[in-house]
Symmetry: C2
Subunit: 256 residues, 2 copies
Amino acid sequence: MNFEIHFQAMQPPTGAHPCERCLLRGNPAFLAVTAEDLRLIESFRTGTRTVEAGRAVIEEDHPSPQLYTVYSGWAFRYKSLSDGRRQILGFLLPGDFIGLQDEFADGHTHGVEAVTDVTLCSFARDRLWPLFHAQPKLGYHITWLAAREEKMVDDNLVTAGRRNAAERVAMLLMHLYRRAERVGMAREGWVAFPFNQQHIADALGLSLVHTNKTLRRLQRLGLYRLEGGWLRILEPHALQTLGDYFERPLQPAPLI
Amino acid sequence: MNFEIHFQAMQPPTGAHPCERCLLRGNPAFLAVTAEDLRLIESFRTGTRTVEAGRAVIEEDHPSPQLYTVYSGWAFRYKSLSDGRRQILGFLLPGDFIGLQDEFADGHTHGVEAVTDVTLCSFARDRLWPLFHAQPKLGYHITWLAAREEKMVDDNLVTAGRRNAAERVAMLLMHLYRRAERVGMAREGWVAFPFNQQHIADALGLSLVHTNKTLRRLQRLGLYRLEGGWLRILEPHALQTLGDYFERPLQPAPLI
DNA sequence: CGATTGATTGACAAAGGTCAATGTGGGTGG
DNA sequence: CCACCCACATTGACCTTTGTCAATCAATCG
């Protein structure tokens, strides 16, 4: 398969750019904002940052002085136990807002690590309250994002607590495909899938080996294909039913 | 047709009280508010509601037109799979705010069920945005509560995904004790513990039988006592270490 | 070409789930 | 007051799923 043309077309501009030329905002997955709100968001923003694949966006034991919005790339939130066991709490892709929890909780919260190279828009933590004050609608939007994220963690908790291995894998494949598709990362039924099996195992609460065996089984059943880092769902209905996981079409999300 | 909902809606508000005489607000676990904010909260509030132990506060398949703050009693949030498997997402006690997710997410979110008799202060969903607009500080506080709740779900996800049975039980006992203690529900080292083993199993992602065996084991080890619906932690250090779960002293929370 | 990273597999062990029986204490109708 | 019921807790026997260990394979990279 040759997806290079598409892939290039999806490349974000690296480095700083003004919010008025934000490439995400044209995306129908996000709410439109007024020019005034956009100016306010830009004044709240302190810059951009790039993190290489595999590096930490936020260290787990080191709360971040910044909040971020993912502008391009995939990342994940995680927590570790002291003996090294790691649980991925959720995946982050363009439009996701990172770091709210640190603003409020005192102790440790979670780490964030880049899966691919990631571009972020950064915001100063101590300007969050002034932002709420200056424009309550943006505060409302941030609450929206927090509630949506909690809903995703709720779903992941049901997965880890109650689904068996095959159901977990089915659910995750559908979930990741849907989210990528939503922000326009799908090309002719394929989405870039940069995760390795360790990521999947850590997200699902399974061991690496069992994750591998379960993935192979579903693949042999012809439910999906995964080639060269691209994922295609062959039997969405079967995967949804197996995972007992049905997403409604999602409303446009705020983008900060 | 659901008779219950109508019946509940017709209940006279039990224990109605003005916010100025709120018994929770004296509690050091909660932030002090100005008289003006208090008036605003009261104008946002639409009444109170009582739910009997074991009844639904919010039906899982029936999004609520109300938001609530728990005023007294214990409840829990949960989600079910279509074959009946149930996962408890978290426990709710006085001061916890319920229903934010429904405001934003379209589809299903979660159900809420009372463990003990529960008293709630109710708020109209459609007045949430006006509240943000009228007093951004209260909006900021609501975001605080949302972020705190997400942090708790994150912890539960680590538990379900990565801790073994004994670690899960140890963690949950410490967690519930701490939270109850924090809002002043402890009496000489004991807290009321109204949960049965099915609740614990559903919260931890374990089977009922295995939960029982694990509880008995930790009890025989002398780590805790549970008598007549009251819990006492005998070896907090051992339970914390076993569960790899260390809470910092918590800051005062906003109370809406 | 060796080295490294990630995927794959089989053999085996362990944790946890399922089934079924029993215990226990508090209500409740008679 | 007593026999019965019911919800919940407890236990043993057994089974299934998942985890662990270790070897092999495949692709990529200096």
